[in-house]
Symmetry: C2
Subunit: 321 residues, 2 copies
């Protein structure tokens, strides 16, 4: 059975033709062009679907799933609010239905679909209670309870990025203080690296970026860690420690079986996961602490795409936990 | 229909004959005598039940519910671990069955039963997604999702007392740092009041306790607040601010409809709830923040007793959400 999963990011639309075993048979990647407006983005999505369905025929696509950043109404198929896309109340599913009237179309928040992808075909296989955390420009999370996505009373559950780790910490754009996102996101890591460099500390990163501080990225910090750079390792360890506080808070409240970490920053691998696991164990000494697993996501960049296809499979009852 | 609810605390056993409208028809209060061992405590529970059932007859008691502090196995009716009672793996329900073999007996953690009491007959009526937080010697919490108690993968969900509010804060006996419980519990409030007094600050509390610092209690701080004592109000406001961080973290993750605050400290009333609500709104500016309700528990000291009876009603399908 064939599905199409579409991950609509702020920069790119990553889509794939995915079968009900979670295998990606064909890929499509194209710019989102969000600045041109929602109609244009939807046109791009339509083109991606047509490209993916070209050989097999759209009539053989069982369902289409979409992952959209921000606050999504999954029942109505409306993007209520998306900072990354600049969207507010865009009826994405209705618009797509104009082109694919015979195909069931489903939509959810991008982190939530990634969590579904991990649960059914990734690191979360076999677990019914899990938290997925994505470390990218921001810090997002999704919660699966008893095998199902947990959305909360207003659909906003899982805002781990805006939980406080420092009571009197930095002011966040969300209005809260000391939010996890300010420290453990790619943005937070870049800021911290910049701070340390400006204090006059040595790092091989300066050479790697030709002394242009604007070129520091979380990936660069991660690469520098791999080369044994002390400053980069300090930055990564500090991010891991703050992330550990956020994870421990979340685990103390939710008590999941497993925590899956995805997103760009998670690609740092052992440089992140070793200090992270250490800090989590240190803070969680209860019976939870001994059992909890903190693991990297299986699907890197393609987690959203595969997860979006899984969303369609789950909603259509094609796969079971 | 008649039920018996039993709240087994570290100091007292508070029991009640409760009907299926949540009305307490008769009360029994006696010392727990935990230091004499679990057999002795269970003997006290049996005597309480016999006293409450005396007039109506034990055969007319539909069910018995127990609320026990600490980690409870509700399926087996075993108190796995209770610091307050000094218990480890005590098969409470089996022991009670020896005396009341014809009566269904149910057991859960004390905060969880209090949450049930509030949901069915208290401040949580009409809500299916709520968090109950109890501020006593420690800080406990219980989560109700889709109308049902949420226990988590290992039964430890809702450990809000051990979520971190200060990343590098005080070391807690749980092994974590900067735990909410260290600041927002009765113990934390007493400590803070002591600290301020030792710094040489004036407070009418000194007169109230005859200059004996060992007599400071959270209730005293609350009373002094009522009399306009600046130091006491500062202590209470600081506790409220820290509690707000814990609540906001919890709300950001769980996204409930309502947060109910119970336990001794909550009896401080407006002195606690006014700064608490203010601090929560300030930190929660999203769509959750505008909708969330933070309210005092309806049942003060009797929340555990009523909730324990409700536990039996819920498990026996006598009442529905």
């Amino acid at each position: 059975m064939l599905f199409i999963g579409i991950d609509v990011g702020g920069t790119n639309i990553a889509s794939g033709l995915v079968n009900d075993k979670g295998e990606v048979l064909k890929r499509d990647k194209r710019p989102t062009e969000a600045t041109k407006g929602s109609e244009y983005v939807i046109k791009n999505i339509v083109e991606a679907v047509n490209n993916l369905a070209k050989e097999v025929g759209i009539e053989n696509i069982k369902g289409i799933g979409l992952g959209i950043p921000g606050y999504v109404d999954p029942d109505e198929g409306i993007s209520r609010f998306s900072v990354n896309l600049g969207w507010e109340n865009i009826p994405v599913v209705i618009k797509l239905k104009e082109n694919f009237s015979q195909t069931p179309i489903f939509m959810e928040n991008d982190v939530r679909v990634a969590a579904l992808g991990e649960k059914y075909f990734g690191a979360g296989r076999g677990f019914n209670n899990l938290i997925m955390i994505t470390l990218g420009t921001g810090v997002g999370s999704a919660i699966i309870i008893n095998g199902e996505l947990y959305r909360g009373a207003t659909g906003s559950a899982g805002e781990i990025g805006h939980t406080t780790v420092f009571k009197d910490g930095l002011l966040c754009r969300c209005g809260n203080r000391g939010c996890l996102e300010l420290y453990a996101s790619a943005t937070g890591i870049v800021k911290k690296a910049n701070d340390y460099i400006k204090e006059g500390n040595f790092t091989i990163m300066m050479e790697m970026i030709g002394h242009d501080l604007s070129k520091i990225t979380a990936r660069l910090v991660s690469e520098a860690c791999g080369k044994g750079d002390k400053l980069a390792m300090m930055v990564m360890e500090e991010a891991a420690e703050v992330l550990a506080v956020g994870i421990v808070n979340c685990v103390n409240i939710i008590d999941p079986e497993i925590v899956i970490i995805g997103g760009g920053v998670s690609l740092a691998g052992e440089k992140l996961f070793t200090p992270l696991n250490e800090a989590v164990r240190k803070r969680l000494t209860s019976n939870i602490g001994q059992k909890i697993k903190i693991v990297p996501a299986k699907w890197g960049d393609e987690g959203g795409m595969i997860g979006a296809a899984v969303l369609a499979m789950v909603r259509m009852g094609v796969i079971a936990a």
